[in-house]
Symmetry: C3
Subunit: 340 residues, 3 copies
Amino acid sequence: MVTLSELIGAIECVQPVLNKAVLDGVSVSVQKVMTLEKADADAVAFLSHAKYAKDLPNTSAGVVLISEKIANAHQDAAPAGTVLIIVKDAYLAHASISTLFAKRAPDGIHQTAVIAPSAKLGADVSVGAYAVIGERAVIGAGSHIGSHAVIGDDVVIGEQCHIAAHAVIAHDCVLGDDVRVHSHASIGSEGFGFAPKMSENSVAWQRIAQLGRVVIGNHVRIGSNTCVDRGAVEDTQIADNVIIDNLVQIAHNVQIGAGTAIAAKAGIAGSTVIGKNCIVGGAVGMNGHLHIADGVTFTGMAMVTSSITEAGVYSSGTPAMPSMQWRRAAVKFRQMGEKH
Amino acid sequence: MVTLSELIGAIECVQPVLNKAVLDGVSVSVQKVMTLEKADADAVAFLSHAKYAKDLPNTSAGVVLISEKIANAHQDAAPAGTVLIIVKDAYLAHASISTLFAKRAPDGIHQTAVIAPSAKLGADVSVGAYAVIGERAVIGAGSHIGSHAVIGDDVVIGEQCHIAAHAVIAHDCVLGDDVRVHSHASIGSEGFGFAPKMSENSVAWQRIAQLGRVVIGNHVRIGSNTCVDRGAVEDTQIADNVIIDNLVQIAHNVQIGAGTAIAAKAGIAGSTVIGKNCIVGGAVGMNGHLHIADGVTFTGMAMVTSSITEAGVYSSGTPAMPSMQWRRAAVKFRQMGEKH
Amino acid sequence: MVTLSELIGAIECVQPVLNKAVLDGVSVSVQKVMTLEKADADAVAFLSHAKYAKDLPNTSAGVVLISEKIANAHQDAAPAGTVLIIVKDAYLAHASISTLFAKRAPDGIHQTAVIAPSAKLGADVSVGAYAVIGERAVIGAGSHIGSHAVIGDDVVIGEQCHIAAHAVIAHDCVLGDDVRVHSHASIGSEGFGFAPKMSENSVAWQRIAQLGRVVIGNHVRIGSNTCVDRGAVEDTQIADNVIIDNLVQIAHNVQIGAGTAIAAKAGIAGSTVIGKNCIVGGAVGMNGHLHIADGVTFTGMAMVTSSITEAGVYSSGTPAMPSMQWRRAAVKFRQMGEKH
């Protein structure tokens, strides 16, 4: 059970509770997060947009987080028994309290974990079954290493990190504090670097051993099955507050600026530098060796073939339409490319 | 060795054998599946399209499955020693008999598996080396948990499921019967949910702990390295008879209707609802919060940015052409967007 | 420390050192690879393009590899203490010496590895913690099997291969010599083969057990989280000197010709045959059952819907532009498909 004061405490980590005085002395506990529509008395819900206000009068939620800008218009519609917490941004408040209800990683170090004698684990580090931690690795206080995760030699992981089951972090990589890496992420695999050499019948490829690292800042999120390759000579770099979704490819020597968000299935080719506070939509593809300015947004599936020097929103592609119509359009597009 | 009566038995699980009386008393055994062209007397082959009928006269196959609609025209061309099994759909018959030749998962529970004392395993469950099964997990009869698979706390898996090596199924997720999950699939990882909050120099992102589950029906297939994220508040849902290929992204709170097939590298953003009996081509991308009607087909690489209300085939993109031609067309496309 | 003669030895595996006589008797050792700009006396750097020649006069590198074609014009600008190694292709020389500085896989067989009694390991095979090697598997001399890797029954792996942590190679697959497979690669998972069958309310799908193998030649690279599915009846085939990046999908029965390079996030649908010495850009998608000639290059995100019979460069898509402009162009593209 989570008490009202615990909810308020979690919210105040990110923003003030605006009606805190009114709530003083009120007693209520909840045990789950639900939508307004489905909530019962044991649940906390939130209302951040006027379009969902219609669900407020009939909610059974024990607690509702409501945004200030719609509180005046709608708070009187709340049922009598519902406790309203008024904040500037109820969506952000919902985010901050959600973690109170998340399943905790297990404590302790599982007896099957293989931890090199020279590795250093901080206070309250937990390690799952069959995890492997390499020589001289350093794991900061409060971090969790999931089952089967492999942490290579000389890796440094900060405090309060969560490395999920089956993540791999290869040798010498560095992670800051509060980094979350999800299942089957591959961090620090060898980048795709080859020099062509001719053999008799075909091209052959001379492997370039990748000698750089992956260096990741604080408060970073790396999604499931996402790949971040180590640098060729210098490092691949991901700054603070970067969030990356699943199945994303970050090639060697890419640099990603602070606060940038990258949606699922995007791919960034080698040595491209992305600025701060960018939004990269799902399945966006970027060529290598580009520079993307701060504050650039790419909509989903955009094909980025040249550098972008000004903040703004950029798009490409053609949205889906009935196939018969599309065929005619695609033929005309092809004709547009014919020499005249 | 697989006998003729075993072949007939497997076919009759999906459709009647049309010349069963003729086959009565015939004795033949095979030990592999081959094409008509490469088959020998130990092999079963199939013929479901007239265009491959040219290979029938010269086949050495011990058994040939043939579709009724071409049997009349071609069956007399079969070599004398070949046993013909006539069915309505020889491709479907081939599918049903193929499983007789597949390698079986090993029996028993490997001594290195870590199984929580509170987990409940049904009859004939097999578990591979280094698999980890969490507290209160329930595994139905006849299911196989592959080597290194991680089954989280409170997971429910139905009967006759096959969880391949290195699959991860996170806590509280539910799988029906006859579900096959392939290597490195991530089911139930935390969805990509964040609320923006401003810090001094850049955007920061407040994590939203994802409190929903992934709920999967019966007869579902999840491919290798595919990600199905758990819901934010409610569940991500995959209905019966859904088949999903490799490297697919299914974001939080997506719902996929029964019978829908999703090809490799497709991505479905959060909260999108896909109807029944849809076909989603390879590398298709869908925005979040869309509704896709029943019976919709998207061809490969389609970019789906708005809801689809009518069954039919939808496409987008421009097919590859010589680069010089493409450059001219792409320039003109860009010019089409200039203000006049 | 790597001596000058070791550097020369590594280079001469791929090309002659052109000023070898001059270097005779010179003594210098280095311990890392750096750029010209950042190198110190312990580092080797390289110069293969004139545009970086401006960094040569001020470099502190102990050794510089320089391409013959720019050596005449620039070698006199090198600092007095720098040892110049002149070769035909300094980039290729850099590639060949890079491996001297790479971290070596650990020796020996970890006590937690589960190796079937019938498996055969060649001389100097090393096996990481919790790796699992199946019955009758054969691992060639000098190969390394990483932590948690799963090698199925009857797999054959050649000499000097590197199978990274958490790679899965399913039963019966065959790998040649000098094959590198990276983390979370899924080789030999079941291909996406189903025959439709109608049930009451929706399509159902009859699984086709995939009975073929994956057969991989020599000097092949498979990236992290890449999937290569086993063949349905015959084999999926990857020829010598093929290099494949991360998150690539290779469907069942695909054949890839020698020397072909495939960048990240590409996807090749079933039974497509790709020729020799092709370059497949990032996120390229190819339909199934196509034939691609030798020497074809596809630029990134190309959508390949038909066979290509002539060598050359092919492209598709529309590059990103400001969204307001893109919206107008996309509307006109749609209008181009309307009936007139």
